[in-house]
């Protein structure tokens, strides 16, 4: 089979091109290391894991603690109350956020319980007596690192808001429970004078306000495309496949490069006078480079499983269907190689191929969610991202890693990748055949 001889030659040529190989293998590894580590924190924040915040409680009463407890129960925030063994004050908290050691500090002011209790009483009494009162309010201060992004910031504010509302409600409830009998007694005495029963308060039904904490309505988050973003990936699950695909598509440059070099150096002309088919020439190149892509893939998975965790990221979870994973890897590699051979046929010079190749990969990568995950993109960009083969690959990988995808569930993306490959290859073959016929 001449195909095998062609594959062997391509591998031999590649093995002599150490620099290209180094770039192909090392670039995606470095990128994935850097980006997974950079984004680890971000993904933890948006991915539902708790965010740490400094918590300074200057309140002497019980409400400060109650607030703290409700935040902890809610689970959105992990509170840090002491730094290196020392209880923190508000100045230290401010400084720590300013220095970027923490992104948030929450400060409960002195006299918080007293103020809130007083205000609750004023408010409830005012309500019972139908008087207009403006109760004093107390402030909880939240200090943000200015570098914290908007979404993240509002997530924290929401969690706090929830805690505050809960606290207010339970306070007002408790005061209501206490004031209602007193106010009834007062009203009745005012109207009936001495006829009024003195033990009226005891005869009233007991009112408990425990229900203020019991939520009747819970928000059940469900997205329009239910399966799609139900679970968000960890930074490793996002970045490893993303940069693997990015690296795999960079095969375009050496692959197009070998074809262009053969055109320029005349070896292709020589081959064209020989009894060898166009298919085995082109497929020889594709197969050899496909192998390189798969080695890249294997190395990157190793990085995700064994190297990144050394830096404190979660271990890359591969989902439960290794066969589907392999299928997606092969399909993505084919798409990359198909594109490479097309660029090699269409470009007029190596420089052209290198520039066009890398620019188109960066664009397709950005669209496909390599740099910024698709689910945080604006909606219309999400729609455009459907056009990117890197996006198809990434979507399929994430499906397998995060959403327990199977061969059947990644079939649409696999089919898209294959179609892309076949179209590229077909166009390349047509152009190649025309060359060979000598037009």
């Amino acid at each position: 089979m001449l195909l095998l001889a062609n594959i062997k030659k391509e591998l031999l040529l590649l093995s002599r091109d150490r620099v290209s190989l180094l770039v192909l293998f090392v670039m995606p590894m470095v990128l994935v290391l850097i980006l997974s580590l950079i984004q680890d924190d971000l993904f933890r924040a948006t991915g539902g894991a708790a965010t740490t915040a400094l918590f300074v409680n200057l309140d002497e009463g019980e409400l400060g603690h109650e607030f703290e407890k409700s935040l902890q129960d809610n689970g959105a925030l992990e509170l840090v109350k002491s730094l290196s063994g020392k209880e923190i004050d508000s100045a230290a908290a401010r400084k720590s956020v300013f220095n970027g050691e923490y992104q948030f500090a929450i400060i409960v002011p002195a006299g918080f319980s007293a103020t809130i209790n007083q205000s609750a009483e004023d408010a409830v009494r005012g309500a019972l007596r139908d008087e207009k009162v403006i109760p004093r309010s107390s402030r909880i201060t939240v200090i943000f690192d200015p570098a914290v992004r908007g979404v993240y910031r509002s997530a924290v504010l929401n969690a706090l808001q929830l805690g505050v509302v809960g606290l207010e409600l339970s306070r007002k409830g408790a005061v209501f429970e206490k004031l209602l009998p007193e106010e009834l007694q007062r009203n009745i005495e005012a109207q009936m004078g001495s006829y009024a029963p003195t033990d009226l308060a005891d005869q009233l039904p007991r009112i408990s306000f425990d229900w203020t904490n019991q939520s009747l309505i819970s928000l059940d988050e469900e997205l329009a495309s239910p399966k799609k973003y139900a679970t968000l990936p960890t930074s490793v699950q996002q970045n490893v496949p993303a940069w693997t695909l990015f690296g795999m598509f960079f095969i375009v440059i050496p692959l197009a490069g070998t074809l262009i070099r053969e055109r320029q150096e005349g070896t292709l002309t020589r081959l064209m006078t020989m009894p060898v088919s166009n298919g085995s020439l082109l497929l020889g190149k594709v197969s050899a480079h496909l192998l390189i892509c798969l080695i890249q893939f294997g190395l990157m998975i190793m990085v995700g499983r064994f190297i990144l965790p050394l830096f404190g990221t979660p271990v890359l979870e591969l989902g439960s269907d290794p066969l589907a994973l392999l299928l997606v890897a092969v399909s993505a590699a084919l798409a990359a190689c198909g594109f490479g051979i097309l660029v090699g046929v269409v470009a007029r010079s190596y420089d052209q191929a290198a520039i066009f190749g890398s620019v188109s990969i960066v664009i397709a990568g950005a669209l496909g969610g390599v740099m910024v995950p698709v689910y945080v993109m604006p909606r219309f960009m999400q729609k455009i991202s459907v056009l990117s083969p890197l996006g198809w690959g990434l979507d399929a990988f994430l499906d397998i890693f995060v959403r327990d995808g199977r061969i059947s569930s990644v079939l649409p993306q696999v089919a898209a990748l294959w179609t892309f490959f076949l179209v590229c290859l077909a166009v390349a073959l047509i152009v190649f055949r025309r060359w060979r016929q000598g037009y």
């Binding site: 001889a5 030659k9 091109d17 150096e265 020589r270 020989m274 009894p275 060898v276 000598g438």
Partner: protein, 255 residues
Amino acid sequence: MRSDNDIILSTDHLVKTYRGATSPAVDGVTLSVGKGSIFGLLGPNGAGKTTTISILCTLLQPSAGKATLLGHDVVRDAAAVRGKIGLVPQDIALYGSLTARENLYYFARMLRVPKSLIESRINESLQLVELTECADQRVSTFSGGMKRRCNLAVAILHHPEILFLDEPTVGIDTQSRNLILERLTELKQQGMTLVYTTHYMEEAQQICDDVVIIDGGRVIASGEPRQLVAEAGGCDNLEELFLVLTGKQLRDRTE
């Protein structure tokens, strides 16, 4: 004179006009090559030598005319032609990062040399061009002359019936050049037909049985070198005849 049976290659009013070109690069070339001879295709730069050879090697479609090689039409029967010809291209067409042996092995496979013969054919080719010693060095480390010789070695691996050589001795040292010329004569003695372009007339006179001189894509003279010189009168050798025919102005490449 030769009988028609001895004609291994013939063209009939071959024309090639490149896309976008105003005048044809090959303009009605008719020639015939006898089996087992060395045929010289002579002409100044830009005369249309490479274009003619490319058509004969199935690399280019002629715009008009026809060419038959071993009974096969080069356009309609391109596939049949490909296994039977060898081409030594004008430029070195080798993989610089591979060794001479690796290059030869790969091309032997592409030329469909039977696997059992490959080893001996490679050694034979290497011996012929005297590169056995350096066979395991990368071609990129070779001198110009060595590259030219290796370029030739590839084209004879499959013992082609017709070997096309496009300026195989251009720009190399005298030793390599003499070696190549010597070997071409040897190949002819083994029964191979050689079609050979050059603008070195001395060389052509030395080894060619028949020549055509083309200029501007047209044949301006053809025949045996000695006969051509004799007929022209006033010329002592092919070189002088050539200058008389093609004029003395410079032919700088513009492509």
